[in-house]
Symmetry: D4
Subunit: 160 residues, 8 copies
């Protein structure tokens, strides 16, 4: 569990990339007064170390017709079914997040749907997975915050 | 609430970009047998329509020392304080997601911390916001799924 | 608490009217082989006895843009505030039903709203009534049954 | 999901009919300074569009000996049984409302009964439906509000 | 459901007997300035009407070594088992009260035991009845009030 | 906490009296082949030892118009108010039993009322006691068992 | 249930030993101005009476890599399985305490683990015991107090 | 957070001492075929490293008249009061364990008392601490397991 050490340069590079992954390496190099090659080497190194897993677009789900968000707590009959159930959950693209929890629920999911009717169908899919005993749903009225960038900046500032 | 219409070309472009936001437009153009200019125009259009909000890196939080995830339900004294409390929550970088919910909790947050001790400090920060009446925490034992790409593919396939 | 006694004729008249309140009295008279005057007298009598309170249209709320139904449990600071709070609730037209209950909640309401956003606003209105301590919401995914006619038929059959 | 457009005349007609469905069309016509034929055409149109589903009497349940109201939450063994259970519930006339919910309960019902003993029998009927796992009951101490007319006026005022 | 009418004399007799069931009828007669025969007739009549069911001693359970009181909520697998389970409960003398309830529990019992160990054994007996799904126990720290006489006086005063 | 020792004779006397407190001592004496004086002495001794506290009538509450039973859990603001609140509860004759509990509720009461409306009034009285924070009610659908005689027989058999 | 009587000397000896079990008997003798032989006899007597069961080291679990503490409530299918399940629990060394409880849970355990991942494995072991229906976990953020010595001093002071 | 490294010899010494803290070092030395001086040095080193914090007697609480165990969950008004409340809890010797938790409760305590009455007094003490909002109690019916030795052996075996 020994952690990869990021130095100040790595930090500055990440700081720029998390705001815009498409920033050309030459622009980054110029800003940090280093060579574009160095940027390239550093990013590669962080990718190989598994710190940078990939990149993705941030889309506006509302504009795409997916305005409905629900959190669904899943109760299993037996925790030995956890792995099997997670594989089934993994086949439902509308479940974007799933956690194994040990409190009230066995598995806790985040669901994005088009509307109430669609959410009902997705929840029924979850309910019908073999080994799922019950589900309990909490509906979001407003997504007020969804921003990992503040956390990332905080992490890099701390390490640097 | 009229939605922006994506055609099949937009969809193919998004399909490629969500897997790797750094894919050069020339590569996309070649794959789709269209000109790089078209790719550029389309992406621009989707950015202007607010469908593409931005891009971000997917980092490995465990490798960065942030292995602890908790969901925190927040009870407010009065819902009229919701906006004020959300602004305070917004100042805590370790809260990466916050939703207004109307069930058991008033606000529901996702927290990323280094460890139990760190999580306790963050939860205490939430507890001490003026207007917060109580919090209730559920701890994640394993983040089994965190993947919006499957949803995005599903959306694009459906629309196309 | 002595109840008004309905005879078989009253019952037949109600049986017809609950299915269509606009059925002309002459049609009812013909069906029951009695005079239209008798129908008139009986209906009048049941109105005066307070059994028939009025009549109303059954409208399709979805078509009118009100597809969202929620049940909201209201906790009061003190039950002595019940009457005051009910008067305030009575000013919110989107609350169509309200009951004083003595279990978990003090007051239990049914709310009809346009959508999630609208429901949030209505729940906030309830939350902000003086004397309301908290609310807890349960959202309907589908109104599967809303039919008092079966009950009415059952009552009349039993009495007749 | 395109909605039928009601104009101001429709609105005025509905406004009158929701207060008394038996108002003669000639009276409505006089009040609105239009012809009785127009009233007839408009009502017909709204019936055909499915906006007006029907009409019903508002009766005083207490005077009919049905003073006891309870809300019953139903837990199912599997949500795949929802449709089957709703059909069974539909055979019990004392259940006047039933909703599919996805929170704590799978189905949520409103029950009208004569008294405690009668309510017990109805709840036992619900409990004994195949696929029903448990029920949980909340008893109404007072029906303080049951009025859809305020909502309807609000809807029409808003649209007009 | 027509109730037996008690007159003022009945009331005075009951008022005396509920404080001491062994009061000689001659003493009651003297106090009320009526004949002992009248007292006899009235008591007989109230016994025949089923108003007076019997009489019992009030003993001090603590002094008899039964200081531990618990309330036990019983969940059944199916309410159709209620009658059967109540018969089994009826065979456990340490359960002094049992109610059919329709809220959280199916049956709610009062248990008197010698101590914690004894209470555990009784609760295990309840748990092991066929058809009992679970039990949940609430332990009394102090029996602060156990007095039906105040209620009886209140009833008689009201009727008289 | 040394307990009074009951011998076999005491036990036989109690066994007879708990079934009918009005059994003449001469009848008891005859049954047990002892002198009436001995019965008198033993009963007196048990009264003085505080084992026999008194005697009371068993009345049929339903016939007296009190068919409604509820259990009410009371939450206090502070347990230091327990004594004060119990004194206030003690002034409400419709509360026949009250226990200090330390689980979910602070005080747990049994209430006998005429009907739903009356129960509501009594619960409101409890709610309005100074120091009472909230109440939660569970309504009895059927009093299936209310019999301390079985327990008493069990105690006496065990001791004898 | 007659208790062994400790005199003042026993108490003084225990008072010293609970702070340091390795204190030589000659040191204790000197402090109390009694002979070492008396100390020996008294300790032996208390061991034979079963008052002193043994002695153990107090270790720092954090330093040994066991910083994670959780309380796990266990629900059984049937209380008749309690003994069997406790034997299985007894085979998991990471469960340091287990109680039979009769409230919400059937068995309540304290678990010490290395970290979140390890705790998950232990909880899964508990979940997979035959007869275990579900578990519910509460995680400790800080062990603020773990000290039986204050209680022991309090007991000895009271008795002496 | 670097941990002290225990070697096989340390482990063997601890293995013997946790079963009997009074084992003479010469006995340990003989068993392990090392010198008594080495045992002394090693124990000293582990004490200085803070791994061995102390030693204590294992007493039989039942025989000392403390048979009653309860777990008490404490809710605070504000988590900022946690430290203050823990100091007050620390003054009650009957609370042997206290944890800061972030789930349902703010603080979770283990209480040992003589009996129900004594437990009530202790719980009232907790309830009356300034900043404590409510407490909720779970009573142990049987302490089935209380043994840290198995964990210690497990730890040492793993490390060795």
């Amino acid at each position: 569990m020994a952690r990869f050490r990021l130095d100040e340069v790595d930090h500055h590079i990440l700081d720029i990339l998390i705001d815009n992954t498409r920033t050309p390496f030459t622009d980054i190099a110029k800003k940090l007064s280093i060579s574009a090659g160095t940027v390239h080497v550093r990013v590669k190194k962080m990718e190989e170390a598994g710190i940078i897993i990939g990149s993705s677009l941030t889309l506006d789900y509302k504009k795409l017709g997916y305005a409905f968000i629900a959190y669904v707590g899943v109760y299993l009959n037996k925790t030995s079914q956890t792995k099997f159930v997670l594989e089934r959950i993994n086949e439902i693209p509308f479940v974007t997040v799933a956690h194994v929890t040990t409190g009230k629920f066995n598995v806790f999911c985040k669901v994005r749907a088009k509307n109430t009717e669609h959410a009902k169908q997705i929840i029924f899919l979850l309910d019908d997975i073999e080994g799922v005993y019950r589900t309990e749903t909490m509906i979001s009225m407003e997504e007020s915050l969804n921003d990992k960038k503040r956390l990332m900046h905080s992490i890099f500032n701390e390490i640097a």
